[in-house]
Symmetry: C2
Subunit: 148 residues, 2 copies
DNA sequence: CTATATAATTCAGCGATCTTAACTATTAAG
DNA sequence: CTTAATAGTTAAGATCGCTGAATTATATAG
Protein backbone atom coordinates (compact mmCIF):
# COMPACT_ATOMS: atom_id res chain seq x y z
CA UNK A 1 0.00 0.00 0.00
CA UNK A 2 1.21 3.48 -0.91
CA UNK A 3 2.21 5.43 2.20
CA UNK A 4 2.32 8.62 0.16
CA UNK A 5 -1.27 8.27 -1.02
CA UNK A 6 -2.35 7.24 2.46
CA UNK A 7 -0.91 10.45 3.89
CA UNK A 8 -2.47 12.53 1.15
CA UNK A 9 -5.88 11.00 1.83
CA UNK A 10 -5.29 11.74 5.49
CA UNK A 11 -4.64 15.39 4.73
CA UNK A 12 -7.63 15.64 2.43
CA UNK A 13 -10.01 14.01 4.89
CA UNK A 14 -8.81 16.41 7.59
CA UNK A 15 -9.81 19.29 5.36
CA UNK A 16 -13.18 17.69 4.68
CA UNK A 17 -13.84 17.34 8.40
CA UNK A 18 -12.55 20.82 9.17
CA UNK A 19 -14.91 22.39 6.65
CA UNK A 20 -18.02 20.31 7.20
CA UNK A 21 -18.27 19.39 10.88
CA UNK A 22 -19.49 22.79 12.04
CA UNK A 23 -22.01 23.03 9.21
CA UNK A 24 -23.36 19.64 10.19
CA UNK A 25 -23.74 20.57 13.86
CA UNK A 26 -25.43 23.89 13.08
CA UNK A 27 -27.76 22.28 10.55
CA UNK A 28 -28.93 19.77 13.17
CA UNK A 29 -29.55 22.52 15.73
CA UNK A 30 -31.35 24.80 13.29
CA UNK A 31 -33.66 22.02 12.13
CA UNK A 32 -34.15 20.86 15.73
CA UNK A 33 -32.84 17.34 15.16
CA UNK A 34 -30.54 15.64 17.63
CA UNK A 35 -27.23 14.27 16.40
CA UNK A 36 -28.32 10.62 16.77
CA UNK A 37 -31.58 11.36 14.91
CA UNK A 38 -29.85 13.09 12.01
CA UNK A 39 -27.17 10.40 11.87
CA UNK A 40 -29.83 7.69 11.73
CA UNK A 41 -31.61 9.62 9.00
CA UNK A 42 -28.44 9.80 6.91
CA UNK A 43 -27.67 6.14 7.47
CA UNK A 44 -31.16 5.14 6.33
CA UNK A 45 -30.88 7.34 3.26
CA UNK A 46 -27.86 5.29 2.18
CA UNK A 47 -28.82 1.81 3.37
CA UNK A 48 -32.25 0.94 2.02
CA UNK A 49 -34.28 -1.74 3.75
CA UNK A 50 -32.31 -1.54 6.96
CA UNK A 51 -33.82 -3.12 10.08
CA UNK A 52 -33.69 -2.09 13.74
CA UNK A 53 -30.86 -4.37 14.85
CA UNK A 54 -28.82 -3.39 11.81
CA UNK A 55 -28.98 0.25 12.80
CA UNK A 56 -28.17 -0.64 16.41
CA UNK A 57 -25.05 -2.60 15.42
CA UNK A 58 -23.98 0.20 13.13
CA UNK A 59 -24.20 2.81 15.89
CA UNK A 60 -23.03 0.57 18.70
CA UNK A 61 -26.18 0.93 20.83
CA UNK A 62 -28.89 -1.47 22.02
CA UNK A 63 -32.03 -2.33 20.07
CA UNK A 64 -34.04 -0.59 22.77
CA UNK A 65 -32.25 2.69 22.12
CA UNK A 66 -32.80 2.49 18.36
CA UNK A 67 -36.42 1.45 18.80
CA UNK A 68 -37.14 4.53 20.91
CA UNK A 69 -35.23 6.80 18.54
CA UNK A 70 -37.20 5.43 15.58
CA UNK A 71 -40.53 5.78 17.37
CA UNK A 72 -40.00 9.54 17.52
CA UNK A 73 -38.85 9.70 13.93
CA UNK A 74 -41.95 7.80 12.80
CA UNK A 75 -44.14 10.24 14.73
CA UNK A 76 -42.27 13.14 13.11
CA UNK A 77 -43.09 11.70 9.70
CA UNK A 78 -39.45 11.05 8.78
CA UNK A 79 -39.47 7.23 8.74
CA UNK A 80 -41.87 4.49 7.62
CA UNK A 81 -41.71 1.31 9.73
CA UNK A 82 -43.36 -1.80 8.30
CA UNK A 83 -43.21 -5.55 8.74
CA UNK A 84 -40.87 -7.57 6.57
CA UNK A 85 -43.06 -10.12 4.74
CA UNK A 86 -40.09 -12.52 4.54
CA UNK A 87 -39.63 -12.61 8.31
CA UNK A 88 -42.32 -10.87 10.29
CA UNK A 89 -40.06 -10.41 13.29
CA UNK A 90 -38.09 -7.84 11.30
CA UNK A 91 -39.23 -4.31 10.61
CA UNK A 92 -38.26 -2.66 7.34
CA UNK A 93 -37.20 0.97 7.75
CA UNK A 94 -37.60 3.41 4.88
CA UNK A 95 -37.41 7.20 4.84
CA UNK A 96 -40.46 9.23 3.90
CA UNK A 97 -40.13 11.86 1.20
CA UNK A 98 -39.62 14.46 3.94
CA UNK A 99 -36.92 12.29 5.52
CA UNK A 100 -35.12 11.97 2.19
CA UNK A 101 -35.33 15.71 1.74
CA UNK A 102 -33.72 16.40 5.13
CA UNK A 103 -30.94 13.89 4.35
CA UNK A 104 -30.28 15.65 1.03
CA UNK A 105 -30.22 19.07 2.67
CA UNK A 106 -27.78 17.93 5.33
CA UNK A 107 -25.43 16.58 2.69
CA UNK A 108 -25.55 19.83 0.73
CA UNK A 109 -24.86 21.71 3.96
CA UNK A 110 -21.82 19.58 4.70
CA UNK A 111 -20.29 19.93 1.26
CA UNK A 112 -21.22 23.45 0.22
CA UNK A 113 -17.64 24.59 0.93
CA UNK A 114 -16.58 22.40 -2.01
CA UNK A 115 -18.41 24.67 -4.44
CA UNK A 116 -15.96 27.50 -3.75
CA UNK A 117 -13.19 25.06 -4.46
CA UNK A 118 -14.66 23.90 -7.78
CA UNK A 119 -15.04 27.53 -8.80
CA UNK A 120 -11.33 28.26 -8.75
CA UNK A 121 -10.34 25.19 -10.79
CA UNK A 122 -9.46 25.60 -14.47
CA UNK A 123 -11.34 23.43 -16.94
CA UNK A 124 -8.32 21.16 -17.24
CA UNK A 125 -8.04 20.80 -13.47
CA UNK A 126 -11.75 20.03 -13.25
CA UNK A 127 -11.30 17.18 -15.72
CA UNK A 128 -8.33 15.86 -13.77
CA UNK A 129 -10.31 15.85 -10.50
CA UNK A 130 -13.42 14.48 -12.18
CA UNK A 131 -11.52 11.50 -13.57
CA UNK A 132 -9.77 10.72 -10.31
CA UNK A 133 -13.01 10.87 -8.31
CA UNK A 134 -14.82 8.76 -10.89
CA UNK A 135 -12.04 6.18 -10.61
CA UNK A 136 -12.37 6.13 -6.81
CA UNK A 137 -16.15 5.85 -6.97
CA UNK A 138 -16.00 2.89 -9.34
CA UNK A 139 -13.42 1.09 -7.20
CA UNK A 140 -15.44 1.73 -4.05
CA UNK A 141 -18.59 0.36 -5.65
CA UNK A 142 -16.59 -2.64 -6.86
CA UNK A 143 -15.46 -3.38 -3.27
CA UNK A 144 -18.99 -3.06 -1.96
CA UNK A 145 -20.33 -5.46 -4.56
CA UNK A 146 -17.53 -7.91 -3.87
CA UNK A 147 -18.53 -7.99 -0.20
CA UNK A 148 -22.14 -8.95 -0.90
CA UNK B 1 -19.32 26.09 -12.03
CA UNK B 2 -19.14 22.58 -13.42
CA UNK B 3 -22.38 20.69 -12.78
CA UNK B 4 -20.68 17.44 -13.76
CA UNK B 5 -17.94 17.81 -11.16
CA UNK B 6 -20.48 18.99 -8.59
CA UNK B 7 -22.47 15.78 -9.08
CA UNK B 8 -19.36 13.65 -8.95
CA UNK B 9 -18.32 15.27 -5.66
CA UNK B 10 -21.83 14.63 -4.43
CA UNK B 11 -21.53 10.96 -5.26
CA UNK B 12 -18.08 10.69 -3.72
CA UNK B 13 -19.11 12.45 -0.49
CA UNK B 14 -22.08 10.11 -0.21
CA UNK B 15 -19.69 7.16 -0.29
CA UNK B 16 -17.46 8.83 2.29
CA UNK B 17 -20.41 9.30 4.64
CA UNK B 18 -21.76 5.83 3.99
CA UNK B 19 -18.46 4.22 4.92
CA UNK B 20 -17.39 6.40 7.84
CA UNK B 21 -20.52 7.45 9.77
CA UNK B 22 -21.01 4.09 11.48
CA UNK B 23 -17.33 3.81 12.39
CA UNK B 24 -17.49 7.26 13.92
CA UNK B 25 -20.56 6.43 16.03
CA UNK B 26 -19.14 3.12 17.24
CA UNK B 27 -15.79 4.71 18.05
CA UNK B 28 -17.49 7.32 20.24
CA UNK B 29 -19.53 4.66 22.07
CA UNK B 30 -16.57 2.33 22.60
CA UNK B 31 -14.41 5.13 24.02
CA UNK B 32 -17.34 6.42 26.09
CA UNK B 33 -17.38 9.90 24.56
CA UNK B 34 -20.63 11.63 23.64
CA UNK B 35 -21.05 12.88 20.09
CA UNK B 36 -20.78 16.55 21.10
CA UNK B 37 -17.63 15.81 23.11
CA UNK B 38 -15.91 13.96 20.29
CA UNK B 39 -17.01 16.60 17.79
CA UNK B 40 -15.57 19.34 19.99
CA UNK B 41 -12.35 17.35 20.33
CA UNK B 42 -12.01 17.06 16.57
CA UNK B 43 -12.80 20.74 16.05
CA UNK B 44 -10.13 21.76 18.57
CA UNK B 45 -7.60 19.45 16.92
CA UNK B 46 -8.03 21.44 13.72
CA UNK B 47 -8.55 24.97 15.04
CA UNK B 48 -5.73 25.85 17.41
CA UNK B 49 -6.25 28.60 19.95
CA UNK B 50 -10.03 28.46 19.74
CA UNK B 51 -12.04 30.14 22.51
CA UNK B 52 -15.35 29.22 24.15
CA UNK B 53 -17.63 31.48 22.12
CA UNK B 54 -15.93 30.42 18.91
CA UNK B 55 -16.77 26.80 19.59
CA UNK B 56 -20.32 27.78 20.54
CA UNK B 57 -20.87 29.70 17.31
CA UNK B 58 -19.41 26.82 15.32
CA UNK B 59 -21.79 24.29 16.86
CA UNK B 60 -24.80 26.60 17.13
CA UNK B 61 -25.18 26.32 20.92
CA UNK B 62 -24.91 28.78 23.83
CA UNK B 63 -21.70 29.60 25.68
CA UNK B 64 -23.18 27.93 28.75
CA UNK B 65 -23.49 24.63 26.90
CA UNK B 66 -19.91 24.75 25.63
CA UNK B 67 -18.58 25.83 28.99
CA UNK B 68 -20.12 22.81 30.68
CA UNK B 69 -19.00 20.45 27.92
CA UNK B 70 -15.45 21.77 28.25
CA UNK B 71 -15.44 21.50 32.04
CA UNK B 72 -15.91 17.76 31.73
CA UNK B 73 -13.28 17.47 29.02
CA UNK B 74 -10.80 19.38 31.17
CA UNK B 75 -11.50 17.02 34.08
CA UNK B 76 -11.00 14.05 31.73
CA UNK B 77 -7.59 15.41 30.81
CA UNK B 78 -8.50 16.01 27.16
CA UNK B 79 -8.38 19.82 27.08
CA UNK B 80 -6.23 22.57 28.58
CA UNK B 81 -8.08 25.80 29.35
CA UNK B 82 -6.00 28.90 30.05
CA UNK B 83 -6.40 32.67 30.04
CA UNK B 84 -5.59 34.59 26.89
CA UNK B 85 -2.87 37.14 27.87
CA UNK B 86 -4.08 39.46 25.09
CA UNK B 87 -7.62 39.64 26.49
CA UNK B 88 -8.10 37.97 29.83
CA UNK B 89 -11.84 37.56 29.29
CA UNK B 90 -11.05 34.92 26.68
CA UNK B 91 -9.95 31.40 27.46
CA UNK B 92 -7.54 29.66 25.10
CA UNK B 93 -8.47 26.03 24.45
CA UNK B 94 -5.79 23.52 23.52
CA UNK B 95 -5.91 19.72 23.43
CA UNK B 96 -3.67 17.70 25.72
CA UNK B 97 -1.49 15.00 24.22
CA UNK B 98 -4.19 12.48 25.13
CA UNK B 99 -6.82 14.65 23.44
CA UNK B 100 -4.74 14.84 20.28
CA UNK B 101 -4.31 11.08 20.36
CA UNK B 102 -8.08 10.48 20.56
CA UNK B 103 -8.65 12.91 17.67
CA UNK B 104 -6.09 11.06 15.56
CA UNK B 105 -7.62 7.68 16.38
CA UNK B 106 -11.09 8.86 15.47
CA UNK B 107 -9.86 10.08 12.12
CA UNK B 108 -8.16 6.77 11.39
CA UNK B 109 -11.35 4.99 12.37
CA UNK B 110 -13.41 7.10 9.97
CA UNK B 111 -11.12 6.61 7.00
CA UNK B 112 -9.83 3.07 7.44
CA UNK B 113 -12.18 1.89 4.68
CA UNK B 114 -10.07 3.97 2.26
CA UNK B 115 -7.10 1.64 2.79
CA UNK B 116 -8.92 -1.20 1.05
CA UNK B 117 -9.57 1.16 -1.79
CA UNK B 118 -5.95 2.24 -2.13
CA UNK B 119 -4.91 -1.41 -2.16
CA UNK B 120 -6.74 -2.22 -5.36
CA UNK B 121 -5.36 0.77 -7.31
CA UNK B 122 -2.55 0.21 -9.81
CA UNK B 123 0.55 2.34 -9.38
CA UNK B 124 -0.56 4.53 -12.26
CA UNK B 125 -4.00 5.01 -10.73
CA UNK B 126 -2.42 5.85 -7.40
CA UNK B 127 -0.42 8.62 -9.04
CA UNK B 128 -3.50 9.93 -10.77
CA UNK B 129 -5.45 10.10 -7.48
CA UNK B 130 -2.47 11.47 -5.59
CA UNK B 131 -2.09 14.36 -8.01
CA UNK B 132 -5.77 15.21 -8.04
CA UNK B 133 -5.99 15.21 -4.23
CA UNK B 134 -2.83 17.26 -3.94
CA UNK B 135 -4.35 19.80 -6.32
CA UNK B 136 -7.53 19.99 -4.24
CA UNK B 137 -5.60 20.33 -0.98
CA UNK B 138 -3.52 23.20 -2.33
CA UNK B 139 -6.59 25.01 -3.66
CA UNK B 140 -8.42 24.52 -0.35
CA UNK B 141 -5.48 25.91 1.61
CA UNK B 142 -5.31 28.82 -0.82
CA UNK B 143 -8.98 29.66 -0.15
CA UNK B 144 -8.47 29.45 3.60
CA UNK B 145 -5.50 31.79 3.47
CA UNK B 146 -7.39 34.22 1.25
CA UNK B 147 -10.14 34.43 3.87
CA UNK B 148 -7.79 35.43 6.68
C1' DC C 1 -14.06 57.76 36.29
C1' DT C 2 -18.31 55.77 35.15
C1' DA C 3 -21.20 53.17 32.24
C1' DT C 4 -21.60 49.76 28.88
C1' DA C 5 -20.24 45.68 26.38
C1' DT C 6 -18.02 41.29 26.10
C1' DA C 7 -16.38 36.51 27.75
C1' DA C 8 -17.03 32.94 30.54
C1' DT C 9 -19.08 30.41 34.44
C1' DT C 10 -22.74 28.57 37.53
C1' DC C 11 -27.30 26.87 38.62
C1' DA C 12 -32.03 25.08 38.18
C1' DG C 13 -35.02 22.83 35.27
C1' DC C 14 -36.29 20.47 31.09
C1' DG C 15 -36.01 17.13 27.53
C1' DA C 16 -33.54 13.50 25.13
C1' DT C 17 -30.83 9.33 24.92
C1' DC C 18 -29.07 5.19 26.85
C1' DT C 19 -29.20 0.85 29.58
C1' DT C 20 -31.19 -3.10 31.88
C1' DA C 21 -34.95 -6.04 32.41
C1' DA C 22 -39.33 -7.78 31.38
C1' DC C 23 -42.50 -8.87 27.68
C1' DT C 24 -44.77 -10.09 23.02
C1' DA C 25 -44.54 -12.10 18.58
C1' DT C 26 -42.41 -14.86 15.15
C1' DT C 27 -39.32 -18.36 13.45
C1' DA C 28 -36.23 -22.37 13.79
C1' DA C 29 -34.69 -26.65 15.95
C1' DG C 30 -35.15 -31.04 18.29
C1' DC D 1 -45.50 -30.32 19.37
C1' DT D 2 -42.52 -28.33 22.42
C1' DT D 3 -38.46 -25.64 23.21
C1' DA D 4 -35.15 -22.36 22.15
C1' DA D 5 -33.61 -18.44 19.56
C1' DT D 6 -34.40 -14.04 17.29
C1' DA D 7 -36.54 -9.24 16.53
C1' DG D 8 -38.61 -5.66 18.38
C1' DT D 9 -41.14 -2.95 21.96
C1' DT D 10 -42.00 -1.03 26.52
C1' DA D 11 -40.98 0.81 31.17
C1' DA D 12 -38.10 2.64 34.94
C1' DG D 13 -34.11 4.89 36.19
C1' DA D 14 -29.66 7.17 35.35
C1' DT D 15 -26.99 10.43 32.79
C1' DC D 16 -26.14 14.02 29.75
C1' DG D 17 -26.61 18.14 27.10
C1' DC D 18 -29.10 22.42 26.46
C1' DT D 19 -31.36 26.80 27.74
C1' DG D 20 -32.34 31.01 30.32
C1' DA D 21 -31.10 33.80 34.00
C1' DA D 22 -28.00 35.46 37.30
C1' DT D 23 -23.03 36.35 38.40
C1' DT D 24 -18.08 37.54 38.02
C1' DA D 25 -14.30 39.49 35.66
C1' DT D 26 -12.23 42.12 32.05
C1' DA D 27 -12.15 45.56 28.41
C1' DT D 28 -13.91 49.56 25.93
C1' DA D 29 -16.50 54.07 25.25
C1' DG D 30 -18.12 58.48 26.63
Amino acid sequence: MSILLENTFNEWMSLVTKNSLGNFMRFAKEKNYSLPQLSALIHLSQHTECNVSGLGDEFGVTNAAISQLLEKMVQQGLVLRSEDPQDRRHKVLVLTEEGEQIARESQIERQKWLFNLIDILTEEEQNQVEQALRLLINKAIFIQEAKS
